[in-house]
C-alpha cells in the first residue's frame, strides 16, 4: 500500500484541474438519461397515413374517422387517383395507405363482404406491426358493430353480458403488472442506469492508466517504491467513488424526473451497484492493459460497449435472439446487472429472486478483476 495516499491526492488534484472529467462523469450521464429516457419511446402513435377514398359516402367517412380516432394513424393526405396514392407510399411521405373501393357502401348495405385494402410500409418492423394490429382490430370492431345490430333485430346472440346485452362468448381480460401504463420509460430508464454507469467507469479507468503510460510517468512510478496494490487502488478508488456518486444522481433523476419509483430494497440495490462498479472498473483496467495509447483505449472501450448496449437486453429482448447469440449474452456482465436493476426497481424482486443473476455478476466481477490484475502484473515485470 506504499504511496496510496500520494496517488489518491494526485488523482483528486487531476480531477479538480480537469473539469472535463467531472462533466463527463456527472453532466453527460444525466443528459444521456434525459435524452434517452424521452427519446426511446416505443409507444408508436400518429403513423402518417394516406387515404384513397373511392366511395366517399358516410360509411366510408365513418371508417376513416374511426381510423383517426385510434390515434395510431394520422391522415396526412387524401388522394383521388391510384397514381398519387402509390407515390405517397413510395416517396415515404406516408407509411400506411388505406384504399376504400367505390362500392364500399353498397356492399355493406346489401350485407355483402366489403374489402378495405390497407398497405403498410414494412421497412420499420415495429411501426408496421403496430399499424397491422390496429388495422385488424379496427376491422374486427366495425364488423362486430354490424353483427350486434343484426343480433338485436333477430333476438339471437352468441352470449350476453350480465345486463343482457349482446356479447362475445369468450372474453380475454389481460392485466398489466408492474408497469400498468406500459410506459417505455419504466422499462428503459432503470436499464440506462446500468449502461451509463458502465460507459463512464469503463472510459474513465481505461484512460487513467493508459495516460500515465503514454506520458512516461508510469515508468517513472515503477522506479519509486510505490507498491502495485497502492498504484492500482490509488488509480481506481477515485473513479469508484465518482461512479457511486454518479449512480446516486442517476437514480434521483430516474425517481423524480421520470417518475419511476424504486419498488424493491434500496440497500440491496446499492450493494449490487457497488458489485457492478468493481466489474466495470475491472473492464477499464483490462482495456488499460490492452491499449498502448489513449486512442486505442477509446477503440477497445467502444468494442466492449457495443455488445453491452445491443446484446444485454437493454434494447432488444434477449429471449428473441437466435440461440448462439443468446448464449453470448451470458458473457456480458451488464446483462446480469440489467436483470437485477429491472427486478429490484420495477418488480420489487428480492435477493433470492435474483440469485442467478447476482451469481452471474459476481463471477464476471472476479474473473475480470483477476484477469486484468494478472495482465498488468505481467506487463510490469
Amino acid at each position: 500500500m506504499n504511496g496510496l495516499a500520494a496517488i489518491l491526492l494526485k488523482e483528486f488534484a487531476h480531477i479538480r484541474r480537469e473539469p472535463g472529467t467531472l462533466v463527463f462523469a456527472f453532466l453527460i450521464p444525466v443528459l444521456q438519461l434525459t435524452i434517452f429516457g424521452y427519446a426511446i419511446d416505443t409507444t408508436i402513435e400518429q403513423i402518417r397515413t394516406v387515404v384513397l377514398d373511392l366511395d366517399g359516402r358516410s360509411a366510408s367517412r365513418e371508417l376513416v374517422e374511426a381510423l383517426t380516432n385510434t390515434r395510431t394513424f394520422r391522415v396526412i393526405e387524401r388522394v383521388h387517383d391510384e397514381e398519387s396514392f402509390e407515390r405517397a407510399l413510395v416517396s415515404g411521405r406516408a407509411k400506411v395507405g388505406v384504399k376504400i373501393p367505390p362500392n364500399f357502401s353498397e356492399r355493406l348495405l346489401h350485407r355483402e363482404r366489403a374489402t378495405v385494402q390497407v398497405l403498410v410500409d414494412g421497412s420499420d418492423s415495429q411501426v408496421a406491426m403496430t399499424a397491422l394490429n390496429t388495422a385488424n382490430l379496427l376491422g374486427l370492431n366495425r364488423s362486430l358493430r354490424f353483427g350486434r345490430a343484426l343480433a338485436d333485430t333477430v333476438h339471437v346472440a352468441p352470449a350476453r353480458d350480465p345486463f343482457g346485452a349482446f356479447s362475445l362468448p369468450v372474453e380475454v381480460r389481460p392485466r398489466m403488472l408492474f408497469n400498468p401504463d406500459l410506459r417505455s420509460a419504466s422499462f428503459f430508464v432503470p436499464a440506462l442506469v446500468g449502461i451509463i454507469l458502465q460507459l463512464v467507469t469503463l472510459f474513465l479507468t481505461s484512460f487513467a492508466i493508459v495516460r500515465e503510460r503514454e506520458l512516461g510517468t508510469l515508468e517513472q512510478l515503477f522506479v519509486t517504491p510505490v507498491g502495485r496494490a497502492g498504484l492500482l487502488l490509488g488509480k481506481l478508488l477515485p473513479y469508484a467513488i465518482m461512479g457511486f456518486l454518479e449512480s446516486l444522481v442517476i437514480l434521483l433523476v430516474m425517481v423524480f424526473v421520470f417518475d419511476v419509483p424504486i419498488r424493491g430494497s434500496l440497500p440491496l440495490l446499492l450493494g449490487l451497484i457497488v458489485l457492478f462498479l468493481f466489474t466495470a472498473l475491472g473492464l477499464g483496467l483490462l482495456v488499460s492493459t490492452i491499449a498502448r495509447t489513449q486512442l486505442q483505449a477509446v477503440q477497445v472501450a467502444f468494442m466492449i460497449m457495443l455488445p453491452s448496449i445491443l446484446l444485454s437486453g437493454f434494447m432488444f429482448p434477449r429471449e428473441a435472439m437466435p440461440m448462439p447469440i443468446y448464449l453470448i449474452t451470458f458473457l456480458i456482465p451488464v446483462t446480469y446487472f440489467l436483470e437485477i436493476l429491472r427486478g429490484i426497481i420495477l418488480r420489487s424482486a428480492g435477493f433470492v429472486d435474483l440469485l442467478p443473476h447476482i451469481v452471474g455478476l459476481a463471477v464476471s466481477c472476479v474473473v475480470i478483476l483477476a484477469l486484468s490484475v494478472l495482465r498488468l502484473r505481467k506487463q510490469l515485470d
Partner: protein, 321 residues
C-alpha cells in the same frame, strides 16, 4: 578501474544479459562504477542503454548475470534499491496538469515525506534548481530546460545516493544544458554517484568514466583520457592530423579514396585525418590543393568521437570475421 585511490564500488554490472524474444538487447555487459563518479554511458539508439538502466533500477529482470547497486542485488532486492536511487527519464515524465510544487509534493509523499519535512525538502529543492519563482506554474507550461530541472528536483526528493539519468539533455538548448551539467557536478561533489546516458560528445568529455555500448555489447570502458590513448584507436604505423585548407569539403572526397588514408572527416573549416605513416605531410598538402601556401597541417590526438567510430568499425569487422 585501477584508479590511484581505491573508491567503493556503487554500481556493478556482471555479465548482465537481457533478451526480448530472440533479440538480444544486452549481451554480457560488465562494469564497475565507483562512488561519486559520473559514469557516461554512450551508444547509438537501440543499442541497449535504456535496457541496462531499467535492469539496474530494478524495473526489468536480467535473463542472466547480475546487477548490484549499493551492494544490493537489483533483481531480488529491488525494493531496497528503489528507495536509495533516483531516476530521470529521457522524455519529460512529470504531470503537466499539476504545478511545480504539486509535482514535488507528489514525489515527496511517495517517498514517505509528510508535513514539515516535506515542506522543508521542497523548499531546498526549489532553491537548488532555482524554481522557486515558478512554484505555482503548471509543469506543462515550463520550457524544456526548466522541465528537466523540475524532473531532476523530483528525482532528488529522497536524497538518493545514486542517480540514473537517461538522456537528460536531449532536446534542450546549450545554455540550459550547461546549467544542468553544473548541477550534476555539484551533486557528484557532494558524493552522489551519477549514471548518465547521452549522445553528445562534449557531455561524454565531462564524465569521469565512460562505457560505450554497441549492438548490445559493451566495447569500450575507461576514463576519457585513457580511451583516447588506446592503441586500437590510433594503430601502430598511423598518425592523426588536422588539415586546414580552402574548400575542405571538396578536398575531402579526393582524400577519402586515397591509398593510406584510413579515416577523414570534416570539422568546421578543417579535415581530421587518420593516415598511414607511409604518407608524408607533403603528400597530404599537395592533395589539399597544389599550392601549399594556404594549406597547413598539424598533428592532433584522438577525440572521443574518433574512439567510438574506430572501435565501432573494428567491432563490425570482428563480427564479420
Amino acid at each position: 578501474m585501477s584508479s590511484s585511490q581505491e573508491q567503493a564500488t556503487v554500481i556493478r554490472a556482471k555479465n548482465l544479459t537481457r533478451r526480448f524474444g530472440k533479440q538480444v538487447a544486452v549481451d554480457r555487459v560488465s562494469f564497475d562504477v565507483p562512488k561519486s563518479a559520473i559514469f557516461g554511458f554512450l551508444g547509438p539508439n537501440g543499442s541497449g542503454k535504456s535496457t541496462v538502466i531499467r535492469m539496474l533500477c530494478g524495473v526489468l529482470r536480467p535473463n542472466a548475470g547480475r546487477g548490484e547497486v549499493l551492494g544490493r542485488d537489483c533483481a531480488t532486492d529491488s525494493e531496497a534499491v528503489k528507495r536509495r536511487i533516483g531516476y530521470m527519464s529521457q522524455q519529460f515524465s512529470l504531470y503537466a496538469g499539476l504545478t511545480v510544487a504539486e509535482n514535488l509534493d507528489f514525489y515527496g509523499r511517495i517517498y514517505g515525506l509528510r508535513g514539515d519535512a516535506l515542506k522543508r525538502r521542497k523548499s531546498e529543492l526549489m532553491e537548488l534548481v532555482s524554481l522557486r519563482d515558478r512554484a505555482r506554474q503548471f509543469a506543462g507550461h515550463l520550457s524544456g530546460g526548466w522541465k528537466q530541472r523540475l524532473a531532476l528536483a523530483c528525482a532528488l526528493v529522497h536524497k538518493p545516493e545514486v542517480l540514473f539519468l537517461d538522456e537528460p539533455t536531449a532536446g534542450i538548448d546549450p545554455v540550459a544544458r550547461r546549467q544542468l551539467w553544473d548541477l550534476l557536478f555539484d551533486l557528484s561533489a557532494s558524493g552522489v554517484t551519477l549514471f548518465v546516458t547521452t549522445h553528445y560528445m562534449d557531455e561524454a568529455e565531462r564524465c569521469t568514466h565512460i562505457g560505450y555500448i554497441y549492438f548490445a555489447r559493451l566495447i569500450v570502458l575507461g576514463k576519457p583520457a585513457d580511451l583516447k590513448r588506446l592503441r586500437e584507436v590510433t594503430p601502430h604505423g598511423t598518425r592523426r592530423c588536422e588539415l586546414t585548407c580552402p574548400d575542405p569539403a571538396g578536398v575531402l572526397t579526393g582524400l577519402r579514396t586515397r591509398e593510406g588514408v584510413r579515416d577523414a572527416t570534416l570539422l568546421g573549416e578543417t579535415i581530421r585525418l587518420l593516415v598511414d605513416n607511409t604518407l608524408n605531410d607533403a603528400d597530404l598538402l599537395a592533395a589539399a590543393g597544389g599550392s601549399s601556401s594556404s594549406a597547413s597541417l598539424r598533428p592532433i590526438g584522438a577525440s572521443l568521437e574518433d574512439v567510438f567510430v574506430t572501435l565501432s568499425r573494428a567491432s563490425i569487422e570482428e563480427g564479420r570475421g
